[in-house]
């Protein structure tokens, strides 16, 4: 276990360097969105005021310092209320297009991403698990065939296609649901809660369908695998009822890999569903990233994608720990 932890740190450092280097090569220009009437000399001035003329290593180490030392310190201060050193003059990673600290931007975007993507993940799991179990237990039955077909369709049709079709049907033709997500909406009573539900239905469903499709296939395979193991045969031979076998033994054992799978998928909740956020205008983390890429907001894109990497590594570790915890046979050297 500690060995894995030990490798995580160099991995992250390599990733941070690679991301920084690749982004540094990007030919984008943060001044390209300015009105064309602004002459090129003025654009040059703006570029210089962003520090674009500094050499690569200077910018990289500056970013490292800001990201790994200054930002965590700020977070600690924010949470505990303590004052550590000179927090006023501490430089922060700042977005080029809004001049705001990247971390603040991310915190501002997190709620809607967590709500929409997180909820869709939960809904997806709740749909997927029973379907997967029943499909496996009644392999090749009508239920299994239909379930298989639907989940195949689920991960074969791109989310931007399903999303667009839903907007046309439910917002344009029927007028039941809003096509945009209002991030400023505050839930304070039942009607406003209902508004919140309505604006979340479509993005959540589109994503949940996609998640459920993949997970139910995985669950089905896992149960099938267990059903064919010797202990099930023994149990059957002993005359135990199918239902009892399923509930008592198979289910528990086949959930093991699925739980790991679910843990591995958690980072996607934070990274946001870029395409779905784009379609329904849930201005969350995914949309922030796309906006950053389009406006050449290098510090923002660097920090965001690195944060994604941190999440992935962390949850990989977590998945390992969960697996080891649930299945005592697995031991890490």
């Amino acid at each position: 276990m500690s060995k894995r932890l030990f490798f995580a740190i160099p991995t992250l450092i390599i990733i941070s360097f690679a991301l920084f280097a690749i982004l540094d090569l990007a030919p984008n220009d943060p001044t390209s969105d300015l009105p064309i009437t602004i002459p090129p000399e003025v654009r040059q001035e703006i570029r210089e005021s962003l520090g674009l003329d500094k050499p690569f290593h200077v910018r990289y180490f500056k970013w490292m310092e800001q990201f790994f030392i200054n930002e965590p310190l700020n977070l600690i201060e924010g949470v505990t209320g303590l004052q550590i050193g000179d927090s006023e003059s501490r430089l922060r990673v700042t977005s080029w297009s809004s001049y705001r600290p990247v971390v603040d931007l991310i915190i501002e975007r997190l709620p809607q991403t967590l709500w929409v993507v997180g909820l869709s993940y939960v809904v997806g799991i709740m749909i997927a698990l029973p379907i997967g179990v029943i499909s496996a237990f009644k392999q090749y039955s009508m239920f299994d065939q239909i379930g298989t077909f639907i989940s195949m369709v689920g991960f074969s049709i791109p989310t931007f296609f399903t999303g667009l079709v839903m907007i046309i049907v439910f917002s344009v033709w029927l007028g039941w649901l809003p096509s945009t997500y209002d991030t400023t909406h505050v839930v304070k009573d039942f009607p406003s809660f209902w508004v919140q539900v309505k604006q979340m239905i479509m993005p959540v469903l589109v994503l949940a369908f996609y998640n459920a499709a993949q997970l139910s296939r995985f669950m089905r395979a896992s149960v099938l695998e267990n059903l064919n193991l010797d202990y099930v045969r023994t149990a059957r031979a002993k005359g135990l009822r199918d239902r009892a076998i399923l509930l008592k033994h198979v289910l528990r054992n086949s959930l093991l890999p699925v739980v790991t799978m679910i843990a591995l998928g958690v980072p996607t909740i934070f990274t946001g569903a870029i395409i779905t956020e784009q379609i329904f205008r849930v201005n969350g983390i995914g949309q922030l990233l796309i906006a950053g890429i389009n406006s050449a907001d290098i510090p923002l894109v660097q920090s965001l994608s690195f944060l994604f990497a941190v999440l992935i590594v962390t949850f990989n570790l977590l998945a390992d720990i969960i697996y080891g915890f649930l299945d005592p046979r697995i031991k890490y050297e």
Binding site: F7, T11, Q145, T148, P158, F160, N228, I290, V301, F308
Partner: protein, 311 residues
């Protein structure tokens, strides 16, 4: 002398092996799996259609006919035209070529990388740790942002390398990017299969008579792990096609004047209400292709994994 011995050993190994040939597995899997049969049929039709279609239906997909904009289905334009009067059927056929070419090329690249790395890591214990750390590293990369950024960085310089054919540069770039970001699962599977095979009698036998490592890998191990590789291959094709269309949807795929299914869907999205066909055809094409490939992959997986096979 040595060669003879080797051949003998080989033969006995062949006989001793209880595995049927991978192609047999594919055939058995498909034959027993209705969905897979249909899938294989649909996929063959689509591939043949986009390969041969443009020879039969010779309309230029780039030709703009201002008089014939936004038309519905007709004999002259079987699938209608778009808002520049370009023929939709021609665009769909050409777009399919690109989509399927991207799908296969990216799959081969990712499979090649994954298999090589998996084999080496599984066979040579010395390299195992290093290669698996590399795999973990790639798994930790945030893929979609990375894809977007790489395309942004390298598209223009690549265009310069192929003056007059910007789509070649984009094609290589997209294939490369999808390929190098999707080989990790294959590598893991191949490695674990290799680790298991390494302990089997026929491999031990070959090693004991002094067969070289690369030779064992290519003649003994590789043929025996073809089945899981084929499963990865089907999944690879499917996900590459979807990734390409997603990139096109975010405006970072092929140039706008170059038809691909993803691009057609993206361009047609706004016209959904005026001309639903512009969304439905490319959407169906993508979905059907991916669906049929996934069905084949599913059947293969069932077939090679005896534990999942019918009780």
């Amino acid at each position: 002398m040595k060669v003879e011995k080797l051949a003998q050993a080989n033969q006995s190994i062949q006989e001793a092996r209880e595995h049927p040939s991978p192609w047999m597995i594919v055939w058995i899997a498909l034959r027993n799996h209705k969905g897979a049969m249909v899938g294989a049929g649909v996929f063959t039709v689509i591939v043949l259609g986009v390969l041969l279609g443009p020879f039969i239906y010779t309309v230029d997909p780039q030709f703009t006919d201002i008089e014939a904009r936004n038309l519905g289905m007709s004999w002259q334009h079987p699938l209608g035209t778009d808002n520049y009067g370009q023929d939709m059927l021609a665009r769909l056929l050409w777009g399919g070529r690109t989509a399927i070419a991207v799908g296969f090329a990216a799959m081969f690249l990712s499979l090649g990388l994954g298999t090589t790395i998996g084999l080496i890591a599984g066979y040579y214990k010395r390299l195992d740790g290093l290669l698996m750390r590399l795999t973990d590293l790639f798994l930790a990369l945030p893929l979609l942002p990375l894809l977007l950024v790489i395309i942004l960085v390298f598209r223009e310089p690549l265009d310069e390398l192929f003056p007059g054919n910007p789509e070649i540069g984009t094609f290589l770039l997209i294939v490369f990017v999808i390929g190098i970001t999707s080989w990790m699962q294959t590598a893991r599977i191949v490695r674990s299969e290799t680790l298991a095979l390494k302990e089997r009698e026929f491999v031990l036998a070959a090693t004991s008579i002094g067969t070289s490592g690369p030779h064992i890998i290519t003649t003994h191990i590789l043929p025996n792990i073809l089945s899981p590789i084929m499963v990865s291959a089907t999944l690879g094709v499917a996900s590459a096609i979807i990734t390409e269309s997603a990139l096109s949807f975010l405006g970072l795929g092929f140039p706008p004047d170059f038809p691909t299914w993803g691009r057609l869907l993206y361009d047609g999205a706004n016209f959904m209400e005026i001309a639903p066909a512009r969304v439905i055809w490319p959407g169906l094409a993508i979905s059907l292709t991916v669906l049929s490939v996934n069905y084949i992959g599913d059947a293969l997986r069932d077939a090679i994994d005896p534990r999942v096979r019918n009780q």
